[in-house]
Amino acid sequence: MPLYEGLGGIGLINEKNTTVVLDIGSAYTKAGFAGEYGPRVITRSEVKCRETGQTVPVFQYKDQDELRHHLVDFIHKLYFRCLLVNPKDRRVVVVENLLCPSLIRNVLSKVLFRHYEVLSVLFVPSHLVALMTLGISTGLVLDLGHQEATLMPIYEGVVVFHAWQALPLGGRVIESSLSDLLLDRAVAVTQDGSEHRLSTLMKDMPDKCLEDIKVRTCFVTTLERSSRLQSNKYDRSVEPPPPPTSVSYPLEGRHILTVPGTVRELAAESLFERDQDGLTLATMILDALLKCPLDTRPKLAENLVILGGTASMKGMKHRILAEVRAAAASEHYRHNLPIASFKLHHPPAKDNYVSWLGGAILGATEAVMLRSLPRDQYLVNDVVPDWCNLSFNTCEERDEKCA
């Protein structure tokens, strides 16, 4: 069909203006080029506030204008510090969480089209494209990010949107429970060699510090040890398992903090403790399955995908799988959800950039030409129609077929 070999079709693979792929997370942003196997940069989603000059999270804003300024400055940094290409007249693929507020998507489109004059934007749902890295089209995708855990089942390439789940169980929860535990239990040695309770030295711990302690020393313990620890809380006669070793941690270059072994082990427990509604990471998965059509459940359960930075924590995936199996066997789910086997996928990427990688694979195909929202069209009335989002794209085709 030489007639249709338009300009775009010919040189996509060797195209000079390679498509940029962005995944702007609440804590970390992944940026790079379509067709590459890893992001060029993973950087904190932070900018300097224009008024105060202080470093603030991109998505911490008073009003739409402030968010726009943050995004303008942040994207400037991505293009001119990290990617080193001109944004103008270049395509962009944005990996977005389907549950992300539409305000953010609208402001981001405004910034990309109006401030940076990009050629086109394609929003791809993070959960959906994550499956592309595995080469599968059905899966139950759980994203453990910084702010929250979000879950989306996908069946035969179609997002089962009404079964979505989200809970504020992410890296931040671990950090805040780590902070509570440390202020409650930890001691630190000050410069003069004397020992003090941490809570007497500081009221709250800096976030960067908490993250560092979390990433370098904490882990997710086994279900078996966790239940022994739980029982010990209520019944002192139950022997607790011997605690892991403690760690000496230099705090802000002044104090030596001793991180007790119990704190290392317990910090992540908040993800598995039932809240008032009895919801945990495990129930998220099972509740989502309950909302999916009966015949899709076994296949979804055998195609679990867990991603996001927090999934990298040592022991996390093992524990989630154990919790899911235990919960599925419980009174509550056994009858409604008779599922024999749960299986987990291993994406060919580090957990925190799986979705980005999916976007990078998709961004290297013709889909970018076919489905993106072009600048000219956006500029007509500054709205982002839903069709430029891939999930709606695929739905539309389904409808077309049914009709």
């Binding site: 290409v85 035969e156 760690v247 290297a364």
Partner: protein, 478 residues
């Protein structure tokens, strides 16, 4: 610099609606408007390595992923690594019983003392290069995925076009029977060809083996409950993320990082596409080929000295105006109106700029950025000097002249407090409003700008209005 120009105290209203100090503003000589980093178009001009100061063409930069081939950063602290030479004894190639000294090289950090030897990397026999690049372990799989999805999307595209084609035919010619076949076929295969459901036509698309899920996943290491944690052997988030594809968890897996290159940017006016700033090509040069900073074209306003403001009390605030151009300038201070600069545009458009705007910006479709909302509310009343004054042209030789050579201007003492070379002092009477904590006044600086790019047919001088905001200082309540 910012301090020198009192950047935080005196700010000009840019055409985009932001208040910026004169050092952060450009003046487009073609549009005759102020522009700032918020409202110009930024472009990558040249790429260079900040360590060896070599330029890198953009094609090369793309291949090398924006990293210098020869310079390395420390994976532990980010400092630049330096090459160390030492000699080692190796068996001689001729006679294995003897040893000869050979020169070998390794990389070391002068800041944190990390070396390539720490992580077991072999010393190199050549001074530059030779370090093996790390591979992505999933390369094969990812490559087959990419090919697969590309061919799937390619099919989809063809099908779509087929569909569109047949639709058109049927609607124009109503030859339903003959053309409906490919049309329905196209429709049927469409869903299965969507990039996510590759069940249908896999035979046509390239080989790809989907990954499989497992029932068991790696648990915690056996010894985690008993082993001491050596903090220095576990990497920090920064160390992990500085090589995003690998993200080593142990310091023993750190690998030297190729140094990331930097760009020099050029700035372009979005409205007329002229360059406002363009750096010199040479990476070690800090000069510009084009630099239309506002401080070369717009009279510079400074506060002469700090005044104490009292609530409700009139104080005298003296400003100095300075002419940076080599042409005399008529200047007046008018009451503050934020839209003042727009009025100029219309006026300029009527008489002079029209011709040139047709030839340049007429063809370009300008993408407007959203208007900025800035707090422009003055917290003090101001009485401005009435009438015009003339700012003498800047004369670089005047400094070396002892004589009082400046021609006498017939200054109105009501307006001009003092005059020195290309500078003039004016007095404002500022009365803070009640309850205001910080005194802020505004005025419009009107001046005649001598346009050096205008062609002979156009008038050489244009009158420009620039809204100015002055942060006078804190107000004490009386």
């Amino acid at each position: 610099m910012a301090h020198l120009f009192q950047g935080h105290r005196i700010r000009l209203l840019c055409s985009c609606g932001l208040l910026k100090s004169i050092t952060a503003i450009y003046f487009c000589r073609h549009c005759l408007k102020l522009r700032c980093s918020n409202c110009v178009s930024h472009e990558v001009d040249t790429l260079f390595c900040p360590n060896c100061l070599e330029n890198m063409p953009s094609t090369e930069a793309r291949l090398k992923k924006n990293r210098c081939a020869n310079c390395f950063d420390c994976p532990s602290c980010g400092h630049t690594l330096s090459t160390r030479a030492t000699s080692i004894q190796t068996p001689s190639p001729e006679d294995p019983s003897k040893t000869v000294a050979r020169k070998v090289y390794y990389l070391a950090c002068t800041s944190c003392r990390w070396t390539t030897r720490d992580v077991g990397l072999k010393d190199q026999t050549v001074a530059t290069g030779g370090w093996v690049e790390q591979d992505n372990e999933h390369y094969k799989h990812l490559q087959s995925l990419l090919e697969h999805y590309r061919s799937v999307a390619q099919h989809e595209k063809l099908e779509r076009e087929k569909k569109r084609f047949s639709h058109r035919k049927s609607s124009y010619l109503s030859l339903s029977d003959k053309y409906s076949l490919p049309s329905t076929l196209g429709r049927k295969t469409l869903t299965s060809l969507s990039p996510f459901a590759h069940k249908g036509d896999v035979s046509q698309s390239s080989e790809m083996t989907p990954l499989t899920a497992t029932s068991e996943v790696e648990g915690l290491p056996e010894d985690i409950f008993t082993e001491e944690v050596v903090l220095s052997s576990v990497t920090t988030m920064e160390q992990r993320l500085s090589s995003p594809e690998w993200q080593p968890e142990r310091t023993a897996d750190l690998y030297p990082l190729h140094k990331h290159i930097l760009v020099k940017r050029s700035l372009r006016c979005r409205h007329c596409e002229h360059n406002l700033s363009k750096p010199e090509y040479n990476p070690s040069s800090i000069k510009f080929k084009i630099q239309l900073g506002a401080f070369y074209h717009v009279p510079e306003v400074r506060m002469v000295h700090q005044v104490e403001l009292k609530s409700g009390v009139e104080s005298n605030v003296q400003l100095s105006l300075c002419n940076p151009t080599p042409h005399d300038m008529t200047v007046a201070l008018l009451p503050f109106v934020p839209e003042a600069s727009d009025i100029t545009l219309q006026k300029a458009g009527e008489d002079s700029v029209e011709g040139s705007s047709l030839s340049t910006s007429g063809l370009v479709r300008v993408v407007e950025i959203p208007a900025e909302k800035t707090d422009l509310f003055p917290t003090a009343d101001v009485a401005l000097p009435q009438g015009q004054l003339i700012l003498a042209a800047r004369d670089d030789t005047a400094e070396y002249d002892d004589q009082e050579s400046s021609p006498s201007y017939k200054d109105d003492p009501q307006v001009v407090a003092w005059r020195r070379a290309n500078k003039v002092g004016v007095d404002l009477l500022v009365t803070p409003k009640p309850d205001a904590a910080y005194g802020r006044v505004g005025f419009v600086l009107r001046y005649d700008y001598t346009n050096t790019v205008a062609t002979a047919s156009e008038s050489r001088t244009v009158t420009l209005n620039i809204p100015v905001m002055v942060d006078v200082g804190p107000i004490t309540q009386s």
